[in-house]
């Protein structure tokens, strides 16, 4: 008798995952991008900490390991958070010059929620990955300090791999200093502090765009993006803020 109960339960568990993944259907911003398509739910790997002590800079990595048809490549990748005031976190435009889809960044999560990664190929296929993150503020982490930073971009940084070999994929890191004011914060008088964001990082090689990251309110302050290339000469990195100001490296 117990056996029957056990196996019925196990069977119901197999059915459950389909239920869980269908939750994205209720997430409007994501549904808008997926429409009536059926995203492939394996191949795209999203990793974030299960518990984030501090929601302001949660490390995120997304890797594509799925199967692509001939001449198929991933061209777009979006990260969305279902309970942030603005569900757009960060998105990427990826050219065929990116040898490996392995992207790292730091994101903001306002509360515990599910983070989704959606990848799209030039043939219109979609891949979906998700992970729940619990956001707490550890008591000992109370910093008791609220410094208001200058709202302009500064200190653009690019770290190329130490011994880059043309043809071999290696990781580069980029970062620029900017507070990424979301427009959701209030000052001491209760007025909303106006939004001030870095909008994008564009990477070009010989003036040809090969990779872009578009930042949103969900991107952490001092936007950090790491990605892979296999050719490291003649690169230009341009950050643009909402005022249209640009800084290049």
């Amino acid at each position: 008798m117990r056996l029957v109960v056990l196996y019925t339960f196990l069977l119901s568990l197999l059915v459950m995952p389909l239920q869980v993944f269908a939750d994205w259907q209720r997430f409007a911003a994501l549904k808008e991008k997926i429409q009536d398509m059926t995203p492939i739910e394996s191949g795209l790997e999203l990793s974030l900490p299960l518990v984030a002590d501090d929601g302001s800079a949660v490390p995120l990595k997304v890797v594509f390991k799925g199967r692509l048809a001939e001449d198929e490549q991933i061209t777009r990748l979006w990260i969305l958070a279902d309970k942030n005031p603005n569900p757009d976190v960060i998105d990427f435009e990826i050219s065929e010059h990116i040898p490996r889809i392995e992207l790292s960044t730091r994101i903001r999560l306002g509360e515990s929620q599910t983070v989704y990664a959606l990848a799209q190929s030039n043939q219109g296929n979609l891949w979906l990955a998700q992970q729940e993150v619990r956001v707490t503020v550890s008591g000992c982490l109370m910093s008791g300090d609220d410094t208001t930073a200058e709202k302009v971009m500064s200190q653009p940084r690019v770290a190329l791999p130490r011994n880059p070999i043309t043809g071999e994929a290696a990781e580069l890191r980029t970062m620029i200093n900017h507070p990424m004011e979301t427009g959701f914060r209030e000052d001491d008088q209760g007025n909303l502090i106006p939004q001030q964001l870095v909008e994008s990082l564009q990477v070009t090689r010989a003036n040809q765009p090969i990779f872009s990251a578009n930042f949103h309110t969900g991107t952490s302050a001092n936007p950090f993006v790491a990605f892979f290339l296999d050719q490291f000469d003649d690169l230009t990195f341009t950050w643009t803020d909402q005022q249209g100001q640009q800084l290049s490296e």
């Binding site: 518990v51 800079a57 000992c140 982490l141």
Partner: protein, 438 residues
């Protein structure tokens, strides 16, 4: 008949364990349990004799002296991380923060085995020790602390830690770092690398910088301290920064994550580090606090999740993955409770109470915990952060309206009082945990 039952439930338990379901089926797995419905004493093995384990062992005995408790701890003397920064500063000797297990054995009747627990069979409920012994348990409590993630920072492995110590487990590592500080020339730089969250004792690195500054100010006043941080803010930051400015001028420089503070590579022999964006720094003394994870025995027991830490039931601190294994202290995912000795001791008591209740067939009670983290900016200047925690909707929450930081504008007298209370706290918690006090 009973043999058949046990084999069947054993293999089913393997299947269940494979699916991570063991703890959901207490009824089915009851075949293999030794508890009965009437109140009965049982056998508990506690692994780890620090703030969590020693406290749990003592409080289980206080709860029911008939329960058999064996504590496994490799060290005969346990050196506490709290106050080890005073040893680094030359204000205390290492002995003064060492604790033995005499009271636990003589007064509370805890059996203490000085060996290293190397493996756990959660099905057979057996612990294998480094001295060849095996211990049988009805319930297991792990308080294994942390282990370092070697090579998470390129070049920082166990051998490198002998040259660029972490001193994030007190004892010999503390002495290595103290020697390096003593060998510094006036004008030299002390470099500290601090990881991102979560790690043991969030304010610890900054207290270390403070107390080393206290030492350097007196003996090598032209020296500098460089903190390279994998974070953009830290525990009690406002208070520390103000205290540093007041007492150490510009001796301490803190480089945040977004200013290229994250260390990605170490050359321990040359005491040189490289940060995320290629900046190199070299010091005369180098302290690398690497990324961490739960003590390895937690992996062996099957209680860690993909993060490398241990998720637990917030009311009892029983593992959510393996039944009859309780885990307390730094190894757990107990956020917002911090990874601190204070929290480990408090969790140890709650787990002890849950174990005693479980043996007696009683429902466990709702826990409430307080936590106070003291930090010394110098021996007469103390600051603190406090909190009260409860369980709500099966999660640990910090009680709103309670807790908080020391006042930003507190008087010198208050700072001095807090420094005195920090000593009082250390004595009290040591007495509560091991029965020893200074």
């Amino acid at each position: 008949m009973s043999d058949q039952k046990n084999t069947f439930s054993s293999s089913r338990r393997q299947l269940l364990k494979g699916l991570g379901l063991v703890s959901i089926f207490p009824a089915i797995s009851a075949c293999a349990a030794t508890g009965t419905s009437k109140a009965s004493a049982g056998r508990v093995v506690v692994i780890g004799g620090g703030f969590g384990g020693a406290t749990a062992a003592k409080y289980i005995k206080r709860g029911n002296p008939a329960i058999d408790v064996t504590l496994v701890e490799p060290n005969k003397t346990f050196y506490t991380c709290p106050f080890s920064n005073l040893v680094l500063a030359g204000e205390r000797q290492l002995d003064s923060i060492g604790h033995n297990y005499d009271e636990l054995q003589q007064v509370y009747g805890v059996k203490v085995v000085h060996a290293l627990a190397q493996d756990i069979d959660p099905v057979a409920k057996r612990v294998s020790l480094s001295d060849g012994q095996t211990l049988q348990y009805d319930k297991l409590l792990l308080s294994p602390g942390i282990d370092m993630r070697w090579n998470a920072i390129e070049g920082y492995d166990e051998a490198a830690a002998e040259l660029a110590p972490h001193a994030w487990k007190a004892g010999p590592q503390t002495l290595i770092l103290r020697q390096q500080l003593e060998a510094m020339e006036d004008g030299d730089t002390f470099i500290m690398s601090v990881p991102g969250n979560p790690f043991r004792c969030p304010p610890g690195p900054y207290e270390r910088a403070s107390l080393v500054a206290h030492y350097l100010k007196q003996h090598k006043p032209r020296s500098k301290i460089l903190i390279l941080d994998g974070k953009d803010n830290f525990s009690k930051q406002g208070l520390f920064t103000a205290g540093w400015q007041a007492h150490y001028g510009d001796m301490i420089e803190w480089v945040s994550l977004s200013n290229d503070g994250r260390v990605v590579r170490v050359d321990a022999a040359r005491k040189e580090v490289e940060t995320e964006f290629g900046t190199r720094h070299q010091g005369a003394a180098l302290n690398i606090i690497p990324p961490q994870k739960a003590g390895f025995i937690a992996d062996r027991a099957g209680v860690t999740d993909q993060s490398g830490w241990v998720p637990v039931n917030p009311v009892t601190f029983e593992s959510t993955q393996v039944k009859d294994i309780y885990v307390v202290g730094d190894a757990t995912v107990a956020a917002p409770m911090p990874k601190s000795g204070f929290a480990a001791n408090a969790q140890g008591k709650v787990a002890a109470s849950a174990i005693v209740a479980s043996f007696a067939g009683i429902t466990p009670l709702d826990p409430v915990w307080a936590n106070t983290c003291y930090s010394l900016i110098n021996p007469d200047y103390g600051i603190s952060v406090a909190d009260v925690y409860r369980v709500q909707d099966n999660q640990i929450i910090s009680v709103e309206g309670a807790g908080g930081l020391s006042a930003a504008d507190a008087s010198d007298n208050i700072r001095r009082s807090e420094a005195a209370y920090a000593v009082g706290w250390y004595n009290a918690i040591s007495q509560d945990t091991w029965g020893t006090k200074l």
